[in-house]
């Protein structure tokens, strides 16, 4: 045996395990190479099919699953209304708040724009007042909107409830004034009877944004329908004006002559009560 053969034999004896290990690695690399290559090939063929199917599936969802989902949602909402309200309440609240703030800002801006445009003594006065008070004209105009305003006035015979006259600085309403006078008297009579107030009279009726101020005189009463903020200060001024009107301008003759009474009433209350 030559030297070279001996060396080869020795190598084989010593490196058998390493060779087997190297062969197995080579085999695994080959297998991995095949898998990667195959997947790539497969992907080219399969991907378009999957894409089409997915698109089809998405399109079909409303038809196939829609009714079931809707029904399930409806039932869930119905069965847990409190939870839904609880969840939605803060969101809706925020939305409303945001909307109102937005609308108020628009209104304020609109009023400011209008006041800038219009030139009148009233506007000039408001502008000066706003500057002096350090507030915007819009805010000042807004506060004007809450000012109490006379909507309608009824002069009614005290016990019979017969309407003597009425006056409305605004447009004529569609309600039957004689019926209103009758019903006001019936309400007054009922309250005064029911609570056995003796000589006490019903003086105020409030509903939502309106207040009915009732001022009693000997044989008649005046019911003034007011919108806006009915403050104590306004009440006092109104009382004084009605008293003065009754004392200085109305006589027994006027109570029998409704045309004359109406004329005086219109003349006296033609301007806003402040």
């Amino acid at each position: 045996m030559e030297e070279q053969d001996k060396l080869k034999l020795l190598k084989e004896l010593l490196l058998t395990e390493e060779k087997e290990f190297a062969d197995s690695i080579a085999q695994k690399v080959e297998e991995l190479n095949k898998i990667v290559h195959q997947k790539q090939e497969l992907s080219y063929k399969v991907d378009p099919i999957i894409d089409d199917k997915l698109e089809e599936f998405v399109e079909e969802i409303p038809k196939t699953l829609g009714p079931t989902i809707t029904q399930t949602l409806k039932e869930e909402i119905k069965n847990s209304q409190d939870a839904v309200v609880e969840a939605l309440f803060p969101i809706i609240g925020k939305m409303i708040k945001k909307y109102i703030a937005h609308e108020m800002r628009l209104l304020s801006e609109n009023i400011s724009r209008q006041t800038k445009k219009a030139f009148s003594f009233k506007n000039w006065f408001r502008r000066t007042k706003a500057r002096a008070q350090g507030v915007s004209e819009g805010d000042l105009a807004l506060s004007d909107y809450a000012k109490p305003r006379l909507i309608q006035m009824f002069v009614v015979e005290k016990h019979s409830g017969i309407l003597i006259t009425d006056y409305s600085p605004m447009s004529e309403g569609t309600i039957d004034k004689e019926m209103v006078a009758g019903m006001l008297t019936a309400i007054k009579s009922f309250v005064e009877d029911a609570f056995e107030g003796g000589d006490q009279n019903l003086e105020l009726i409030e509903y939502e944004l309106y207040t009915i101020h009732i001022q009693n005189f000997y044989s008649y009463y005046i019911a003034a329908v007011i919108s806006g903020a009915y403050s104590m200060m306004f009440k006092e001024v109104l009382e004084d004006q009605l008293l003065e009107f009754a004392q200085r301008h109305i006589s027994n003759r006027d109570l029998e002559n409704s045309a004359l009474f109406t004329k005086k009433l219109k003349k006296y209350f033609a301007d806003d009560i402040v």
């Binding site: 015979e157 005290k158 016990h159 019979s160 409830g161 017969i162 309407l163 006259t165 039957d176 004689e178 019926m179 009758g182 019903m183 019936a186 009579s189 009922f190 005064e192 009877d193 409704s258 045309a259 109406t262």
Partner: protein
């Protein structure tokens, strides 16, 4: 402004005050019985023979169970006419009629009072008239709110009476 007068309907429960009121004002009738609570008010404008117009402000009060004195007094104040209604088929509704009329005359001397016997559709007029005379029950008119018999005529005559 049109001439206005307050007319109050009085009488026991269930005699047909509201039915007469609705028949006269709205020309409607309903078999359904609903008790009036407190008072209800309606208006009817009547043309008078002299060409004027009269607003009759009708106060339909809740019925009393015993005497007219039970009716809330504040509803009666300032009235121009009272219409006392009784049910001709129920004696208890006119048993105290004379005392009630005496009370009204004494306390509301200036107010015209008329008496109506209602529900004429349920009995024969001849028999009722004879019976009421026998019992000494005064009345001005017998009506039927259901059939509208004598209703319009009665109110037309009343309109003339309260404007004279």
């Amino acid at each position: 402004m049109t001439l206005s007068k307050k007319v109050v309907l009085l009488g026991h429960f269930g005699v047909g005050k509201t039915s007469l009121f609705r028949r006269f004002v709205d020309n409607e009738f309903s078999e359904e019985y609903k008790v009036t609570l407190g008072v209800q008010i309606k208006k009817k404008v009547v043309a008078l023979p002299d060409g004027r117009e009269l607003s009759m402000i009708m106060w339909d009060t809740e019925g009393h169970s015993d005497s007219v004195e039970d009716t809330r007094k504040s509803y009666l104040l300032g009235s121009h006419a009272f219409i006392y209604v009784f049910d001709i088929t129920r004696e208890e509704t006119y048993k105290h009629l004379n005392q009630d009329l005496e009370y009204l005359t004494k306390n509301y001397a200036k107010v015209i009072t008329k008496v109506i016997g209602n529900k004429l559709d349920l009995v024969k007029e001849k028999d009722v008239v004879a019976h009421l005379k026998e019992e000494n029950i005064p009345f001005d008119c017998l009506t039927s709110a259901k059939t509208n018999k004598n209703v319009q005529d009665f109110f037309s005559e009343l309109a003339v009476a309260i404007t004279q």
